[in-house]
Symmetry: C2
Subunit: 115 residues, 2 copies
DNA sequence: GAATTATATATAGATAAACTATATATGTCA
DNA sequence: TGACATATATAGTTTATCTATATATAATTC
């Protein structure tokens, strides 16, 4: 993840689940997609992603299925469950609240999140 | 810290150093001030703050001195060093970059931080 | 007067997130 | 043939923050 490594921790589950909201994806694809959508800011490591996905699967937030690729190893696709959708909404709400509170401390004054 | 506990991790050093930018403070005061400035969002625990402050002191980002209080125990004030100011600026920059990238993933499109 | 709460600092131990390093396996390209 | 991109996985480490606990004084409440 580089950047600062203290600032950056947390919120990976949110980002990964957000990706799955747009459609089923396999692990490697998520790493690439996250890099692309963040304009090369997030470089999620495979060693971080797979344990995270297994954890989300264990909690029932995502489900997984194998699918043959046209070439190479079969891919393990992940799908956001109904429960996952609910949890994602909560996590987004939580992130907005948090980012907003940080902004209040850093810049002073108010912050109505949405903006 | 409550909230989500996965989203919230990281960035405490940034917030604490930001408080000290406005003037020297003692530990207990920082907990209260952080609560106030974040509109009751951040409830930093003493058991989290003091080890954090000792760590910042060890790195030379803050310096500390005792001062008698009019009543009660003597207070240990913390001061942001010159190096601390530099690191704070870097951390703020880093936070902006990070929060901006999260927004890109969550809401799509661009994000020029400052707004 | 005794008990509780607020002020104030500190450490030990637990938990969890993300990292590095490593392993495996296939396809492509120089 | 060797390097690199694709693709998944686990073990072990590091670090942030938490809970729990300890200490001590002042103010408040019963």
């Amino acid at each position: 993840m580089e950047l600062d490594k203290g600032l950056v921790s947390g919120s990976m589950a949110l980002l990964v689940m957000k990706l799955l909201e747009g459609g089923d994806m396999y692990g490697y694809q998520m790493v690439e997609e996250l890099k692309r959508r963040s304009d090369d800011t997030f470089h999620l490591k495979a060693g971080s992603l797979y344990p995270l996905l297994h954890g989300l699967e264990g909690k029932g937030y995502v489900s997984a299925y194998e699918k043959e690729a046209t070439a190479g190893k079969p891919r393990r696709y992940y799908h956001l469950t109904k429960q996952g959708h609910r949890v994602l909404q909560e996590k987004e709400e939580s992130w907005n609240l948090y980012a907003c509170a940080v902004r209040k401390v850093l810049k002073g004054g108010v912050c109505s999140y949405g903006t």
